[in-house]
């Protein structure tokens, strides 16, 4: 047991349970962030933040979004987390009571469309759906350019996607396809798909040549292009792709207090978002960063986006998943 926890226990005995640990944490300048984000993303943020003056120390707890949010809910009487970074508005929306409304001064550089009206959460980055293609696995099939191309039976068993049941990436993509191509299109795509219950297996599957195409977000797939694996290519479907912004939130009664708000601001700042773009290929939510100049990703203006209604997607989740399961059962 560390000295600090022993002291905490003693203070606890003196009926100071609520205030003491919080005080200790606030003074040490450490912020605890619960995050489903990758190690690259976390490292990129840490590198910028820990160089700040006065220094700010970040500890992260990683896991699935809902898992972490449920943990924050479970810890509500004795909060451990300061910030949640980051997830879709729908996922965050299920745990509305956990957050402290906060309008960061940095939010001025973020378009209004990416802000929650009550400032319960603020956009950090925008995910863009791509088809991650392994050219070595084409075997005579022409490289796909659009969603419509992927409906060709030649792709049967060669496309992998994360299970929409437990991955918001998978859900965003299939919901978008159903809106873009209708139920018949979804049915034909489903006949070609393999569903993985592990989201990271989608990327490894394509990189390792297990599958020719993986449906995922550009930030996840671009690492393989940047890393120099030449056969990997990102396809932005010409009939329109789907986007999904991600948001961060301040936890109610965050133990780090003002330091937590400072960390919140820093996560939205230009240096952090630039570092995230360069290290983890996260497309920034700020409008003052020139993406195409910093990495080999197309500017947002060059991508055709098919707009989807995230609120509707969330409201009809159970219904859509039931329909999806019927389709999967029917085509297999």
């Amino acid at each position: 047991m560390t000295e600090q926890t022993t002291r905490r226990a003693l203070l606890g005995g003196l009926a100071l349970t609520a205030a003491a640990p919080r005080l200790a944490r606030a003074q040490s300048g450490a912020v605890v962030i619960y995050t489903p984000n990758s190690a690259q993303a976390v490292d990129a943020v840490k590198e910028v933040v820990e160089r700040a003056r006065p220094p700010l120390r970040i500890n992260t707890i990683t896991g699935g979004s809902a898992q972490l949010l449920r943990r924050i809910a479970a810890e509500a009487s004795r909060p451990q987390a300061d910030l949640f970074w980051s997830s879709s508005a729908n996922t965050l929306g299920d745990f509305r009571s956990l957050y402290q409304a906060y309008r960061s001064p940095e939010a001025a550089a973020i378009p209004d469309s990416l802000r929650q009206p009550e400032d319960l959460w603020t956009a950090t980055n925008i995910h863009v759906v791509v088809a991650m293609l392994n050219r070595n696995q084409l075997r005579g099939t022409a490289a796909p350019r659009s969603w419509a191309d992927l409906l060709d039976p030649a792709w049967k068993g060669r496309i992998i996607i994360a299970d929409p049941q437990n991955s918001s990436t998978g859900y965003t993509i299939l919901w978008g396809v159903s809106k873009l191509l209708g139920e018949d299109g979804l049915r034909r795509l489903a006949a070609n798909l393999r569903v993985s219950s592990s989201a990271s297996a989608v990327l490894r599957g394509v990189a390792q040549g297990e599958y020719a195409v993986g449906l995922t977000f550009e930030s996840n797939a671009y690492g393989y292009v940047a890393g120099g694996q030449r056969e990997i290519q990102l396809v932005y479907p010409s009939d329109g792709t789907f986007i999904s912004p991600e948001f961060q939130a301040l936890v109610k009664d965050a133990p780090a207090g003002a330091t937590a708000r400072r960390a919140f601001d820093m996560l939205l700042s230009k240096p952090v978002q630039t570092a995230l773009l360069e290290a983890a290929y996260r497309r920034p939510s700020r409008s003052d960063i020139d993406v195409a100049k910093l990495v080999d990703l197309p500017a947002m203006s060059g991508i055709r986006v098919f707009p989807t209604d995230e609120t509707e997607a969330a409201a009809k989740r159970a219904e859509f998943l039931a329909q999806w399961q019927q389709i999967v059962a029917a085509v297999n």
Binding site: G63, S87, R194, S197, L203
Partner: protein
């Protein structure tokens, strides 16, 4: 022999029961009550209404039986060969299978895919020669990968049992006219059966709880563990009610198996009078060579993931892309210079957990096996409970129970250590119990009848007899604890990452090279105590040198 109510053993049993009630039964109670849900929606009606859940239960049972059978088929002969024969490279064959216990399952699964997946080396080679292998995803992949991940558990259990077997029995049978092979089967099998069954049961439960391999190789085969995990940690739409329900189903499932095992063991309990183990025979001729080669092949196959790991640790990587053939020590330098904390955390947490766990399980096993009283059947069943709980469930149960209230543990190292101890409790108890079954009651009775008080008799007579087994159990507990992932990842807090958690995080981010570097360190951390125990302290862990 029965211990009377009111004796020191009775009160010790009561104290142990209280400890178990707080740290095991209470969290379990929280989980099970969760399955009835709130309001009108009970998890049980959903379970019966949706066919995929029942399908998943059936598949899980079938997979459990299949893998248990294949592990026994591979491990028992291998253990027999390792325990009873000498051959060149035997020490390697005897120790290396342990490594399979700690290779992250994700890396094992990836390695199998490199060989037999859609783009695997063998798949492509055979396809070039006109042979199309069936898809590795689904049953073939699950059974093969899980068999080679888990056969070590049966191997360890069987080696220990064969070592404890008195070869005089075998000689007696032979002198009475049975052939050597028949006498071995008839005399040795009943004696080692409890150990084999116990470890086979462990494999069954590991398969039921396995998530990592199932999620990568499962393909279209729905499995209980994957559905439970999805219900527990899904990014969106997680379902605590179904998680509790599905976890409860696996609890019921394993309980059933447990009862069957008890019943088999109770039908023939064999106490072996302390005798001498068999001398390892030197193998000669073609049959000897054949056995050696067969054992070697099994070991080599199970070590392929290790080769991937070692190569990965020394391979240069740019982001997720591995530059195979471009060697570097940068991954390890980065680990030691920039982020060695997971190593220190693992050493401290697993070390503490091992000490506590061994002390606790030795005492409880002694009560269960040698001091049966009114309370010990309860001890027996309760300590077996974690077998029926997946790591995920244990983690969630602990967080639910010790988040606040009189014992707030969340956010401390204590809850990680507690998760380790709870998770590995049945392992320690089974180990100590199977040793105690082989320690004859007569020795302790002799000590007591000579006037030594019961507790001193235990400390001065029984404990020294158990010492080699305790040392072996300590090393094995260390091995599995330091590699524990699924419970600790639920309960850990910022800055308290252990090696497996760090590896998991890195693999999930696609950083295979860095993950491999941590994996290599993990394997060293596990092998060091084994090497020290066998070479320096001459503790006979795995082989028989009578």
């Amino acid at each position: 022999m029965m211990a009377r109510a009111g004796s020191v053993w009775f009160w010790l049993s009561a104290a142990m029961l209280v400890v178990l009630a707080v740290f095991l039964v209470y969290p379990l109670f929280n989980i099970v009550t969760g399955s009835f849900g709130t309001g009108s929606r009970s998890g049980w009606s959903v379970l019966l209404a949706e066919p995929r859940y029942l399908q998943a239960v059936t598949n899980t049972v079938m997979l459990g039986i299949a893998v248990t059978a294949t592990t026994v088929v591979i491990a028992v002969p291998l253990a027999y060969v390792a325990a009873r024969y000498d051959f060149p490279g035997k020490s390697v064959v005897a120790i290396l299978p342990l490594i399979t216990l700690v290779i992250p399952e994700v890396i094992s699964a990836q390695t199998w895919l490199m060989m037999l997946g859609n783009n695997g080396v063998f798949t492509r080679y055979l396809a070039d020669h006109g042979i199309d292998l069936p898809s590795f995803y689904g049953w073939p992949g699950l059974i093969i990968a899980l068999t080679f991940s888990y056969y070590t558990y049966v191997y360890i259990g069987t080696v220990a049992a064969i070592r404890g077997f008195d070869s005089q029995l075998e000689e007696a049978a032979q002198s009475l006219g049975t052939s050597p092979v028949a006498s071995r089967l008839r005399v040795m099998l009943p004696v080692i059966m409890p150990a084999v069954l116990a470890s086979a049961l462990l494999v069954f439960t590991l398969v039921v709880g396995n998530f990592a391999t199932a999620t990568i190789l499962g393909g279209r085969v729905p499995l209980l563990s994957v559905l439970t995990y999805q219900a527990a940690v899904a990014e969106s739409g997680a379902d605590p009610v179904m998680q509790s329900t599905l976890a409860s189903v696996s609890i019921g499932l394993v309980m059933l198996v447990l009862f069957v095992q008890r019943w088999i063991v109770s039908r023939g309990r064999h106490e072996v009078v302390q005798g001498r183990g068999a001398k390892a025979a030197r193998m000669r001729g073609l049959s000897g060579l054949g056995i050696g080669v067969a054992a070697g092949i099994i070991v080599v196959i199970s070590l392929l993931p290790l080769a991937t790991l070692v190569a990965g640790a020394f391979t240069r990587a740019r982001g997720p892309v591995m530059r195979w053939g471009d060697w570097t020590t940068a991954n390890l330098e980065r680990l030691f210079n920039n982020a060695p904390e997971p190593l220190f955390n693992s050493l401290v947490y697993a070390g503490t957990a091992t000490v506590v766990s061994i002390a606790f399980s030795t005492l409880v096993s002694y009560l269960i096996v040698k001091k049966r009283n009114l309370l010990t059947p309860a001890l027996d069943y309760i300590t077996a409970l974690p077998l029926a709980l997946s790591g995920t469930a244990i983690g969630i149960g602990l967080v639910m129970s010790f988040n606040a209230g009189w014992l707030p543990l969340t956010g401390t190292a204590g809850i990680i250590v507690l998760a380790y101890i709870v998770r590995r409790l049945p392992f320690g108890i089974r180990n100590a119990s199977s040793t105690l079954y082989n320690v004859p009651n007569s020795i302790e009775e002799a000590s007591i009848s000579l006037g030594v008080p019961p507790v001193s008799s235990f400390l001065r007579v029984v404990l020294p007899l158990m010492a080699p087994a305790i040392a072996a159990a300590a090393v094995l507990t260390w091995t599995t604890t330091v590699a524990e992932l699924s419970a600790s990842i639920i309960v850990y807090s910022g800055g308290r990452e252990t090696l497996p958690i760090q590896i998991y995080k890195l693999i999930d981010s696609g950083l295979m090279a860095q993950a491999s570097a941590y994996g290599l360190v993990l394997i060293v951390v596990i092998l060091l105590p084994i090497i020290v125990a066998t070479r320096v302290f001459r503790i006979d862990l795995f082989s028989s040198r009578a």
